[in-house]
């Protein structure tokens, strides 16, 4: 226990929360895979218990793993964070909400299309295609902030209230510098969210009875 306390107190608040976020996210994904493999949907109580157990395991200080003979230097979740960094607040919200609400969030098709379109334009430019870098907008552009607010209002008008809440949380997290990043883009999108949108569109397109949701009233 003292090892656990020492590990937690050694972390700064921001690092602790970032690791906790990643641990919960990894646990949710692992639980989804187990439900898929066992073809069984766990009850909310069972989900919560398993989530706590998995999150705790991922968060376990490396010293515990060392006792078991595993030569780890960090909690398991820190290895995942080393690979993927911090996920956007929008991704976290959508992932966690769909897990805890136990309902498929029927996000607007336009949202997924928009996300894929933004990713196709944004990432090549941000990675050096030309002298134009839209990622720089995210550090402190009034025009970019107004554009995000405008998109959020359009989404609200389209009655996707869950998505509006997600954008609001992302904006608030950026304003409070919740993550290490100071860039608004990093709170709104990440490559995994864009990849999910692309795969989701592909699945919807090829499925015999695609879900054509335009609202997420859930």
């Amino acid at each position: 226990m003292s090892t656990l306390i020492n590990t937690i107190t050694a972390l700064s608040g921001q690092q602790l929360l970032a690791l906790l976020e990643m641990a919960i996210t990894c646990s949710i994904i692992l639980l989804w895979f187990s439900e898929l493999i066992f073809a069984q949907s766990f009850s909310l109580l069972m989900r919560s218990l398993l989530l706590c157990g998995l999150t705790g395991t991922l968060f376990l200080p490396s010293e515990y793993w060392n006792y078991l003979g595993a030569p780890l230097e960090l909690p398991l979740v820190a290895y995942v964070r080393g690979m993927v960094g911090d996920l956007s607040v929008l991704t976290l919200f959508l992932l966690w909400a769909s897990f805890f609400l136990r309902e498929k969030l029927l996000l607007p098709l336009q949202f997924k299309l928009g996300l894929v379109f933004i990713a196709l334009v944004f990432y090549p430019l941000a990675l050096g295609l030309s002298m134009f870098d839209p990622y720089a907008w995210g550090y402190g552009s009034w025009i970019f902030l107004l554009a995000v607010l405008l998109v959020a209002l359009i989404v609200w008008w389209a009655r996707s209230y869950g998505l509006v809440l997600a954008i609001a949380l992302a904006l608030a997290a950026w304003a409070f510098q919740w993550h290490e990043s100071s860039n608004l883009w990093d709170y709104l999108i990440d490559p995994f969210l864009c990849l999910w949108a692309l795969l989701s569109l592909a699945i919807n397109y090829y499925r015999p009875n695609p879900i054509k949701g335009f609202t997420d009233e859930a």
Partner: protein
């Protein structure tokens, strides 16, 4: 209900975001270099023939010392910073090989009065970095020191979690006692794609508001320079300095409060092996690519510094291929506006040796102390870090040789 709740949440978040954005510092001018351009003119006429003869015969290698030798199988990427007491502190990385898990960032201090380098101490190792950053780190590299806004010594360094150097990110630590003890590291977030591929090699510059501008570079898909504006360990803006797959490791020379020139290590697969150039006329806010500087560059790092009288020095491998020759070049502002770079000294040269026996002299880093002496460190055959002191008097003597009579 959901309609009202979501709109209220959005408006509240928008208010916080506007408040945050309003509080961000605006872009600042460069802190202008303190030139004494008249000094160069005044010193044109030799005042002491004996002294001139002495400096004519001076070889910078006479001042040479090993900063680090036999410390590790591989050492690389040394950098320097003058301390408040006039001494110098050097940083470099060392390990069994470049990119190995046992690579650590070391530091040593030069007592400029005695010329003695202290025993190296470990500033950062991989495990300390990963525990501090709360994420897996596979390797460390490229330490670059700078004086921060609050007068503390800050060290930027590169960390990699996955893959090669193209997967790098920049982290930073800060010291309250000029490099003896260091605080916990922080990560700079500079890229939207898993924060991959940001590296640092050259000195930071200072804005008029005291904040640092850090020239960095990207080498994942493209190879280009980026200029980071920092507030302590946070990136508050980023501007692109070049694009494509042509240029790495920007080295910035400030000309005025608005103007600066960046020299790059060229990284072209096709095209001239010369130094790419970018210029800014807006204190680093916008950069435009200019014609190459017609100096050869074999895709190797260059170092530069501006002396108090405005004279610029460059140290580089003046070859199209290889890193077996290292030279010192000089350009003055008075006659040619830095357009003409003249060879001042050949610092290392293995050109006459068979190719298999040639050693590598690379990754130079220059700094200048308050008395006008320039100090150079560079990788000597990956085995040692070499330090050369270039005395102010000798540099003045060399500059007067360049000036038309």
């Amino acid at each position: 209900m959901k309609r009202i709740f979501s709109l209220t949440a959005l408006l509240l978040a928008a208010a916080y975001a506007i408040f945050y954005l309003n509080g961000l510092p605006v872009w600042s001018e460069f802190r202008p270099p303190l030139f004494d351009v008249g000094a160069a003119v005044r010193e044109k006429t030799p005042s002491n023939v004996a002294a001139n003869l002495m400096w004519n015969a001076f070889d910078p290698q006479q001042t040479g010392a090993w900063v680090a030798s036999s410390m590790a199988a591989s050492v690389h990427a040394a950098s320097l910073i003058p301390l408040s007491d006039g001494n110098l502190r050097a940083f470099w990385f060392a390990g069994s090989r470049e990119g190995a898990a046992d690579v650590v960032i070391l530091s040593s201090m030069l007592n400029t009065k005695t010329g003695h380098w202290s025993e190296p101490t470990v500033v950062m190792d991989r495990v300390t970095a990963e525990k501090g950053l709360s994420r897996y780190i596979a390797k460390l590299g490229n330490p670059v020191p700078a004086w921060d806004t609050d007068g503390r010594l800050r060290l930027f360094f590169v960390t990699v979690s996955v893959g090669g150097w193209a997967g790098s990110s920049i982290s930073t630590i800060v010291s309250n006692d000029e490099g003896i003890n260091w605080e916990r590291p922080n990560r700079l977030i500079t890229s939207p794609f898993l924060n991959l591929s940001s590296l640092v090699k050259s000195s930071a510059i200072r804005f008029a508001d005291g904040r640092l501008g850090l020239p960095s570079y990207h080498e994942l898909l493209g190879k280009f320079g980026e200029f980071l504006r920092l507030d302590a360990h946070r990136v508050i803006d980023k501007r692109r300095m070049s694009s494509g797959r042509t240029s790495l490791q920007p080295l910035v020379f400030i000309e005025s409060t608005e103007q600066a020139t960046a020299f790059f290590r060229q990284a072209r697969s096709i095209g001239p092996a010369q130094i790419p150039i970018s210029m800014t006329h807006s204190a680093g806010y916008w950069w435009e690519q200019a014609s190459d500087l017609l100096l050869p560059n074999p895709n190797s790092a260059i170092a530069g510094v501006q002396l108090p009288d405005g004279t610029r020095l460059l140290v580089l491998n003046d070859l199209a291929v290889g890193r077996h020759r290292l030279v010192l070049l000089m350009a003055t502002p008075q006659e040619t506006r830095y357009s003409s770079w003249r060879l001042i000294s050949v610092l290392e040269d293995d050109s006459k040796l068979p190719e298999a026996e040639r050693r590598e002299f690379s990754y130079p880093f220059l700094t200048v102390t308050s008395n006008g002496d320039a100090h150079l460190v560079y990788t000597w055959d990956r085995k040692k870090i070499r330090h050369l002191q270039l005395p102010a008097e000798w540099l003045k003597n060399r500059r007067s040789d360049l000036s038309p009579s």
